[in-house]
């Protein structure tokens, strides 16, 4: 009968696109904000 596609860790009802935080084909849930590169102002690159 196939898989329960709602249980693959994707929020299929999200009004936003899923791909920007897609964790990859094996990920049980999306990337967290700290996983996603962001073009922050250079002054924020402190380390």
């Amino acid at each position: 009968l196939g898989q329960d596609l709602t249980a693959l860790g994707l929020n299929l009802n999200s009004p936003e696109n899923l791909y920007p935080s897609f964790g990859g084909p094996w990920a049980e849930f999306p990337c967290r904000p700290q996983d996603i590169d962001f073009n922050v102002p250079p002054e924020y690159i402190i380390n």
């Binding site: 009968l1 196939g2 898989q3 329960d4 596609l5 709602t6 693959l8 860790g9 994707l10 299929l12 999200s14 696109n17 899923l18 791909y19 920007p20 935080s21 897609f22 990859g24 084909p25 094996w26 990920a27 990337c31 996603i36 590169d37 073009n39 690159i45 380390n47």
Partner: protein, 517 residues
């Protein structure tokens, strides 16, 4: 072969030098100044003198990096996290060097030298991968190559003007490389491959930000590569754990595409259904369930839904496959066209089955690609023909025509296997409201009503039912066709013996009917 004497040592020295420079910088700092000095060093060592030497330098550097990774992976004295960190530092430095060389090669506005160099490097890394893959066999490890490709892609997709101008070339180069490394060619790289193909930045660039959907055909090709690789394993439902992992990963990617880029799945549904095994019901349903985001689907369970009154029904879907040229051989296509035109010679019908059969390889008796193309071609021609007479397709206008002769002949003349494939080719057109969904829905119901044996009716029911009982999603066109079949007394559905052939089947029909009512 024949690397000039001392080149390996030079390369090793320079690479280590650069890795030291790169890793002495705070993360994310601009390294252009250090790069300029390093390029001077490369020049002093004569590395940049000829194309051949640059090529050798990249190959040797790749091999040195890969060897370093394999050595680190076998070093059990440190934790895997530390091993990974060490590996990343080595590989990311090499990638940064490549990215800077690509970015700064040739004049700022000379894209050719940059793209040429990028293609060269990607080809070299791909060549090293394939050689490594075939040499090490089960000891092959994807990590160095996946990291190099991923980081190089991310570097070359940084928001910088010089990179924006070559971005489509970069995407094209990566798609070509991934096609060369498709799972059929490097099965040991298949998981990393799907990770690369479905990376959020890669998907975003190819499917969303590249204008005019120019990246879509390349992305479709990569998915076809994936389906072709999975097909033999899925075809026999031999879902060993490694296959299940790749299959579920594929479902996740398709779900993201269904949610974010449904028009992409709409456009390439035909191409995908050509390579997805017929028994992959749910995965195919997922693709067929896609519909344009600006479309509002009427609830298929709406009582007395007048499908032929829906405005969308008069529009044909975009089919990017050139179905007409898929009908071979040319002689067969010629006879087909002349039959469609003149409804003669009748011998065309009697020879139809043999044109569709292939040598009886085990489990493969029909040319599925030809079957699919024939059905869609005849259906499309039928719609145009009906319209040319000022009508619109419906249960009466689709009847008594050369097109319907062909469909009815196939329904009667094919054996169970062939008819299953024939009915599947029709059911694959039952999607969102469009002229094909409507025409093929009518055709399936017409074949049911006009069937001269109950076996045909049973098989039509089976083809619909097996698509309905799997987990969601279900294509809109499939639902409205089945609802019409069980609701409209014209088809006397409930009077057929097969509806009660077993208690659980009877219960199944009743539950499906209840959910449909």
């Amino acid at each position: 072969y024949e690397d000039p004497p001392g080149l390996v040592e030079k390369t090793d020295f320079l690479l280590r030098e650069w890795i030291g420079i790169y890793n002495s910088q705070p993360q994310g700092r601009d390294t252009t100044k250090q790069f300029t000095m390093f390029v001077h060093q490369m020049n002093v060592h004569g590395i940049l003198k000829t194309d051949d030497l640059i090529t050798r330098f990249f190959r040797l550097s790749t091999q040195i990096c890969v060897e370093t990774v394999y050595r680190s992976l076998t070093d059990k004295s440190v934790t895997m996290n530390l091993t990974r960190a060490k590996i990343y530092h080595t590989l990311d430095a090499f990638v940064k060097l490549v990215a800077l060389l690509v970015k700064h090669s040739g004049e700022a506005n000379n894209t050719n030298t940059k793209v040429h160099l990028l293609n060269k490097v990607l080809g070299i890394v791909a060549g090293c991968l394939l050689q490594d893959h075939d040499t090490r066999v089960i000891d092959f490890h994807q990590l160095p190559y996946q990291r190099i490709f991923t980081m190089l892609f991310l570097e070359l997709n940084s928001p910088e003007p010089v990179l924006e101008t070559i971005n489509f070339h970069v995407l094209t180069a990566f798609c070509h490389t991934l096609h060369i490394l498709r799972p059929c060619k490097a099965a040991g790289f298949c998981y990393a491959w799907l990770e690369l193909v479905s990376h959020r930045v890669f998907m975003g660039r190819i499917l969303a930000t590249t204008p005019h959907q120019k990246g879509w055909p390349m992305y479709a090709q990569l998915l076809i590569d994936l389906f072709k690789y999975l097909a033999p394993f899925l075809r026999n439902a031999e879902l060993a754990k490694p296959v299940t992992m790749l299959y579920k990963g594929t479902l996740r990617v398709l779900l993201v595409l269904l949610h974010d880029f449904p028009e992409f799945l709409c456009d390439y549904h035909y191409n995908f259904c050509d390579v997805i095994p017929p028994n992959c019901i749910q995965m195919r349903n997922l693709i067929l369930s896609a519909f344009p985001r600006n479309m509002r689907l009427p609830d298929p369970f709406t009582p007395n839904l007048k499908v032929d009154m829906l405005p969308e029904i008069s529009y044909g879907p975009r089919i990017l496959a050139n179905v007409s040229i898929m009908i071979t051989p040319a002689q067969f296509k010629k006879e087909l066209d002349s039959y469609l035109k003149a409804r003669a010679p009748v011998t065309f019908l009697s020879e139809l089955r043999s044109n569709l059969q292939v040598s009886s390889g085990p489990g493969v008796h029909y040319n599925i690609l030809l079957m699919n193309a024939l059905i869609l071609y005849v259906g499309s021609q039928a719609i145009s023909h009906i319209r040319s007479k000022g009508h619109t397709p419906n249960m009466s206008t689709i009847a008594h025509s050369a097109h319907m002769d062909i469909f009815q002949n196939l329904a009667v003349d094919l054996d169970t296997e062939g008819r299953y494939l024939f009915l599947n080719a029709i059911a694959n057109q039952l999607r969102y409201p469009n002229s094909h969904t409507h025409y093929f829905s009518c055709t399936l119901l017409y074949l049911f009503a006009e069937a001269n044996t109950e076996a045909i009716q049973e098989q039509i029911t089976r083809v619909l039912l097996e698509r309905l009982i799997v987990n969601r999603p279900h294509p809109w066109g499939l639902l409205i066709t089945f609802i019409e079949l069980i609701k409209n007394p014209t088809y006397k559905f409930w009077s057929h013996e097969f509806v009660r052939c077993a208690p659980e089947i009877e219960k199944l029909f009743e539950s499906v009917a209840r959910s449909c009512m």
